[in-house]
Every structure is written in structure tokens, then in C-alpha cells.
Symmetry: C2
Subunit: 461 residues, 2 copies
């Protein structure tokens, strides 16, 4: 962890004049904002600015532009590729106080929220109206951050990712101008798709300050189930057949035997330590029954056991909390180890092969490798646990990840299904998309010619 002296004292003074005690240069606050949830080392900003309105953000960005000071938007700090670190210093722009729900249009099934509203806060607010927002990356991330990283998670197989569920954004551009990227219409052919350009831009093109989201009616029936398999291959083949059959399953999550051991220990559960699918079905009562029956038959064909059902909300919550805690549970498998969270996504026909080869590679190189996956999308994570004081093991972990990405690319997959590029996957991005990255570079230069917006993320510069 480096702690540099505050750069650009004029800029800091100007920001302090604007924000008063909403600007912090204290070590503790800067430390909190200079490190995300990944293995990437901390890199502290020179200051942290707490914005309360879009106008605040615009004023902060204008000062930073004037002084060529990097701006790093910060939501909840739950990124996984060093997105919110500040290796070049600058201002961490904390949006967590922008936590107002601007409006809920229940009749249009949409909501507009400030960027700092978290997904759980939104869902708590709209539940009584029979509505929900499905995108669930596990962490209680801010909706602005989820848009900025094109988040997805467990429900994406049915509802899509942030890409499909954002109708419009308010964005502060790198020169302080404020734009709205679209209207509330469900579809539009009005010019370039700026909404989608900013979704997944990881703070490198501007600061998202408001998000208009699609909402859904809470389904009439929701049932969750857990089912165990004799082999990982059997579990994955159940997923593949389910998806190929067009069954509109809401969640279908894989955990390998080691992940099950981890969550048993972490969450004090007693599941069999075997490859397991966590499932959820949404629909009408008969629709859910029909889907469950169809998936049950597929699972049985591959040697799966009986479904253990959870239908009461509190039972479903407990089941999914265990799944969501898998990341923490994995880390707890080896106290003191640091996790390298991998994130490839491949066409579903290659999924079994990709997972099995990756598991074998981890075994061959002596790495503990709990696997969890949003397998309905072809996306899975191996949590590679390494001893941060063992350079040889660090190297082995990165080599396994490199091979995993190469394997996914050779299968026409992607180096990142949902975590994003950040600092950690810039070379993989070039390996994946080649010359297309030069177009990204041109877009970045056009929108942010001073390169102040989260510089060095996505594209090396």
C-alpha cells in the first residue's frame, strides 16, 4: 500500500472550497477508497469527495478537469479487478450519499434512482408494490456501480444483465456537462446507443449519477431447490440440456464439491459435499410446476438426486444467502490466503469441457479451487486461493488464470463474463478483441481527451 503526498494542492483547495467537510484527505478514508474486494493492491487517491447531487458531481469533475486530476467514481467498493483503485492518485468520487429513489413508475414498470442506491435498498422500497429488480451480483452493490461494470449475477439467465435492464442514464461528462442518454420508452432507434456505451465503461467515460431501470412484477410463484450430482460433468450437462430446452429458469447455479465443503463450514450447513446445482423457478403456479418437473427429469437422466425444495421466502433467502456467501466461504477455506477470482464465460456447448479442464489444471498445480458459476449463461468463477507471501504460488495462480482465459478464448468465449476489465484484464481484452480495442481507445480519447476519468482502467494509457 502506497500513501503518496497529496498532489495538486490547488485542485484540492478548490475542491475543499466547494465541498467543505465533504472532502476528505484523511488516511483512513483514503485507504477505504483505494482498495476493492480483489487481490489488486491498494492505491490511494489524494482525496475523497462525497457528492450529494448531480450538480456536485459536475462541479467536482470541472475542477478536476481544470487541474488534470484523475476522477475515480466510487459506489460500494465491491469491484473485483481493481476498478476503484487510484494508482495515479486523484479524487475518489464517492456517490454513496446519492441514495435517493427519484421515482417509481409502477404502471410502466420502471424506476429512476440516484447512482448510490443499492440493489437491496431499491428492492426493499418497491417490494410492497409487488415489484422487484432482478439483477443480483451477490454483493449489495450500488446501482450506478452495477451499471458502470455491466453487472449480472444469478438472475441473468432469465432477466439479462444490466445491459438489458437499464433504460437510461444521467451522466456527467469529463468536462462537467450533464447528459441524459435516453428517454423512458421501452425501445428506441434514436441515434447511437449511448446508454449501452456507458454501461460497462467502468467510470472511464464519465460519471453515472442516475439510473433508470426496468422493474418486474414479483412472480406469482417462486420455488428454489438444491440438487446434488455424482460428478461435476453430470451437473453441468443438466444445465446445458436445461438451457438448450428453452426452459425459462430464473437461476441455475453450480458449486463444485470443494465449494459445498466451504459453504458447509462457513454457513454451518450440512449439504452433501458433492457437485450441486442451486435452482430457482419463477412464474405462475402451474408454470413453475411445469418447469420444475422438466428440469427434474433432466437432472434425473444425468444421475442427480432428489430436489430439496425451499418455497417460503425465509427458506429461499437462507438458501441463496449460502450461495452468495460462497465467495467469503472460499476465502475462509485457507486462512491468510488471498483470492484471485476468475470470471470466464463460454458458449454453453463448451461449458463442461472448460470447467473440467480448469479444475484438472488447478489440481495439477496444487491450488485449492472452489468453483461457483452462473452456468446458465456459460459463466463461472474459480476462486484461486494463494499465499500472498509465496511468489511461486502467486505465479502459479496467475498462470492457471492465464490458461483458463486462453481456454475460454479458444472456445469463442470471453475473459470476463461480469467482473469487467479494470486493471487486471487489459492484456486479455487485447487478446480477446484485437483491433477492436483500438476503436475503444479512439472512443475514450474522443469522450475524455484529457484522460482524467479513471485513467488506465480498461485501456492501458
Amino acid at each position: 500500500m502506497t500513501s503518496k503526498p497529496a498532489a495538486a494542492p490547488d485542485a484540492i483547495a478548490a475542491l475543499r472550497a466547494l465541498l467543505g467537510d465533504r472532502l476528505s484527505t484523511g488516511e483512513a478514508v483514503r485507504s477505504h477508497h483505494g482498495k476493492d474486494m480483489s487481490y489488486h493492491p491498494a492505491a490511494l487517491p489524494d482525496a475523497v469527495a462525497f457528492a450529494e447531487t448531480t450538480e456536485d458531481v459536475a462541479a467536482i469533475v470541472r475542477i478536476c478537469a481544470e487541474h488534470r486530476l484523475p476522477v475515480i467514481p466510487y459506489g460500494t467498493g465491491t469491484s473485483l479487478e481493481g476498478h476503484i483503485t487510484a494508482p495515479r492518485g486523484g479524487v475518489s468520487l464517492d456517490l454513496s450519499r446519492m441514495n435517493r429513489i427519484v421515482c417509481i413508475n409502477a404502471a410502466d414498470l420502471d424506476a429512476t434512482v440516484e447512482a448510490g442506491v443499492t440493489r437491496k435498498a431499491l428492492n426493499d422500497y418497491i417490494r410492497d408494490q409487488g415489484l422487484f429488480f432482478p439483477i443480483d451480483p451477490g454483493a449489495d452493490a450500488s446501482l450506478g456501480g452495477m451499471a458502470a461494470t455491466r453487472a449480472s449475477g444469478t438472475n441473468a439467465v432469465r432477466y439479462g444483465t444490466m445491459r438489458e435492464n437499464v433504460l437510461a442514464l444521467t451522466v456527467v461528462l469529463p468536462d462537467g456537462r450533464v447528459i441524459r442518454t435516453a428517454r423512458r420508452a421501452r425501445k428506441s432507434a434514436a441515434g447511437y446507443d449511448l446508454t449501452r456505451l456507458f454501461i460497462g465503461s467502468e467510470g472511464t467515460l464519465g460519471v453515472i449519477t442516475e439510473v433508470t431501470l426496468r422493474l418486474y412484477g414479483i412472480p406469482e410463484a417462486i420455488s428454489s431447490a438444491v440438487v446434488h450430482f455424482p460428478t461435476l460433468e453430470a451437473a453441468v450437462n443438466t444445465v446445458i440440456t436445461t438451457i438448450q430446452s428453452g426452459i425459462p429458469i430464473a437461476r441455475i447455479e453450480l458449486l463444485n464439491a470443494l465449494s459445498m465443503k466451504a459453504i458447509n463450514a462457513y454457513s454451518k450447513l450440512s449439504y452433501p459435499e458433492a457437485p450441486t446445482l442451486f435452482l430457482e423457478f419463477h412464474g405462475s403456479k402451474t408454470g413453475v410446476e411445469e418447469q420444475a418437473k422438466a428440469v427434474g427429469e433432466i437432472a434425473r437422466d444425468y444421475g442427480g438426486g432428489d430436489f430439496a425444495w425451499a418455497t417460503r421466502p425465509e427458506d429461499r433467502s437462507r438458501l441463496w444467502q449460502a450461495r452468495h456467501d460462497a465467495a467469503y466461504a472460499s476465502v475462509a477455506l485457507r486462512p491468510g490466503a488471498v483470492p484471485l477470482a476468475t470470471d470466464v464465460c463460454v458458449p454453453i456447448s463448451r461449458l463442461a469441457e472448460c470447467i473440467l479442464e480448469t479444475e484438472a489444471d488447478c489440481d495439477a498445480h496444487g491450488l485449492l479451487a472452489p468453483i461457483v458459476g452462473h452456468v446458465g449463461d456459460g459463466n463461472f468463477h474459480v476462486v484461486l486461493l494463494f499465499d500472498p507471501n509465496d511468489p511461486a504460488e502467486i505465479k502459479r495462480a496467475h498462470e492457471v488464470n492465464n490458461r483458463m482465459v486462453s481456454r475460454a478464448l479458444a472456445m469463442d468465449g470471453t475473459c470476463t463474463g461480469e467482473h469487467g476489465i479494470g486493471l487486471g484484464k487489459r492484456e486479455f481484452l487485447v487478446a480477446e478483441l484485437g483491433e477492436a480495442v483500438s476503436v475503444m481507445r479512439a472512443l475514450k480519447a474522443a469522450v475524455d481527451p484529457l484522460n482524467i476519468m479513471n485513467p488506465g482502467k480498461i485501456i492501458a494509457s
Copy 2:
């Protein structure tokens, strides 16, 4: 219609050396390529180049870049806002010979096709494998053109638009470089969303030469129905309640009484000439029954009649052909008249108000106004029929359209749900998105600094 002398003889000579008789400068071919299906006047290119491969396209674009000659990509010529006209001359780049199906990955539910493959050709090819591609704008457009204009149509309420159904594109950039925008993974967080940037870019950022699409299994059960209503408001309220109830209806199309009169005359049918919904349900057998029952109850609550069902494929085809012919049928209402096809889209809660006010405005100004709509998305079209020799009537038609767009924008809607901006809606785009259009301008300048790609479309230049 203007027929300019061939510009840039050196460029034409270089293209002829490259393409031989696949370059045409004949009047008939140029005329065919200089006019789309809209009211926009013809504007002929200097030449028409017939590409057969991505390499052809790259070579053509390189020559045009060298000579600063406009390049206007051309699929089937079915655009509706002058997209494929050549008001500055240049080369119409005809992609219709790029009609190979590159590969079908049935197990992954995706297909890669050359840009000139039409949606019907793809569906004919994959039907035997139990697969279909749902996006259906009415015309048998090319899939490259549909991507370029972010097409949608009757199935979008269930399956989304081209935005949601394209996984990746091959694009020839304005300097002749070739990029692939993404891999075949279902989702990815790898950098800026270039796929979505090119979808809807209307040929202004590059030439789409290959499209990788999501496919779907043909549903186990498909049922179509027609239901008539005492008032337009009753029909629209049935739609609004259906959407708000979260019923996963596959198509829900509105025709007003005048449209029904038009299709009766054009397609020799005998439907009641009343506001009507055309519906389609996709799913399992019980799922379709359940959906149909729910919508039936909603329709009855609003005074709708009995559903007239079509379940056999040939009966469904006949029903939907009548709906798709509504555009031609509308034009036939008044021989010699020219149609101005409007295209607003509003949040569904405002749909009834928007349609009723627009219908009243047409009546008040003596314009025949058949209305058809993809109303499940809040999108509808009034076909404003005007006498091309009556300047006062032309003016009235444009004024009605202007008011209709203003009305939609005031409701937080868009000036174009699916037709795009082209030449006809550039001012509306500015009214809709304001400062955001300056970002589009910056993107255009970054990707196409010579402004050779379909210049003047989307953004005035």
C-alpha cells in the same frame, strides 16, 4: 429525382479495376439504390458496388477513403427515413450477395450469417432444426440492415429488439480495417459495448458484414388470435393491463378501425372495421392456455369480443400476413397518395392518451390516418397519407408528425421506436436528447474522421 454526373472519376476507375462488372454506374441500378420505402426523395449514388466478401467491403471502403467518396451500405432498401439515399453521391455498397449462412450452433442457440442474409432466409434455413429468429420488422429485411437500424417489430415485446438479439458483429471500419466486436459468449463485461454501438448506427460508423444472432427453440405451442373492441381506448387499455400484469405475450398488435378497413380491402378479408388487437402466445401447451385465458379476461373487462383463434401454421401465417400488409394496405386507401410513416414510442402508461390525441389531431386536420402499433412496447405508427402535389397537405402531414413527436417527448417517449433517424429525424433527435447528441457527434468524428460513412445521416454534417 436528381441524377448527377459521376463524381470522382479516379475513384470509380479504381473501384472498377477492383470489382469489374460488380460495379454499376447504370441509371437503373443507381435509381434502385437511391430510394428507400419512405416519402424521402430519391438521391442517386454515383455507383453501386456489389460486395461478395468482407475483404471486398474492406477494399471498397479503402478506395472510397482514399478518394473521400461517401459509402452508403445497402441491404434490401426497406428503410423508412431515407437511410440509403445518397444526397452527396458516393458509392452504394450493396451487400445482398453476401448471403451465406456462416454457421449455425444449434447447441448454443446462435447463428452467424453474412449481412445480406434476410430474416426469412435464415428462418427457412433453421426451421428444420426446431429453431427460429424472432425479430420481425414486417419487411423481409437483411439481418445486417436490421442490425444497422436496431430493428424490432411485432415480436419485440417478448424477445426484445436487435439490440438484445445480436451477440457480435464483424464490421469494416471507415479506414478498411476489419474488427469483430465480441465473442459468442452470452454475456461479457469485456470493455466498451462495441456491438451495441454499431447496432443502430445506420451505416455511419462502418459497414456491418457479419452478424452473430441469438436463436430460440420454436415454442411447443403457438396460438394467434384476433379480438375486436368497441373503442380504441378499450383496445389500448387491454394492452396496458396485459403488460402491467407481466403476461409474457409474444405479440400484441393494435390496428384502428381505418387500418382494419384498409386490410379488408387490400387482403380481401371481412373483419369488423373496429379497433382490433392481433395477439400471439408462445410457450408450453398449458402456458399458452394460461396466458390466453388471462388476456381473454382482461379484454372482456374492457368490452372486447370473443377471440378468433388461429393455431395451424398456415392460418397463423395468413393472419400475420394481413397484419404485415397493413402498411401497403394503408397506402392503397388513397391511390396516388404518399405515406409518411410516423414512429413514436412512449411509456405504456401514456399510450392510450398519446394514440387518442394523435388520432384526434389527424381528424381535425383532414388526414386519413390508419394506425398500427407494436403497442406492447408503447410503439405505434400513423401512416399519414398525403397528396404529393398538394403543398398545403404535405405541410399539414409534417405538422401532425411534428406535434406527434412533441407529444411523445413530453411523455418521456422517443421520436423513433424502430425506424431510426436517417435524414428525417435529425432535428427530433436533438429535441429528444439535447447535449447527448454532441457526444454522438464526437463518437462519429473519432471513428470516421473523414466523414465518408453514410454522411449526413443521424447527425447533420
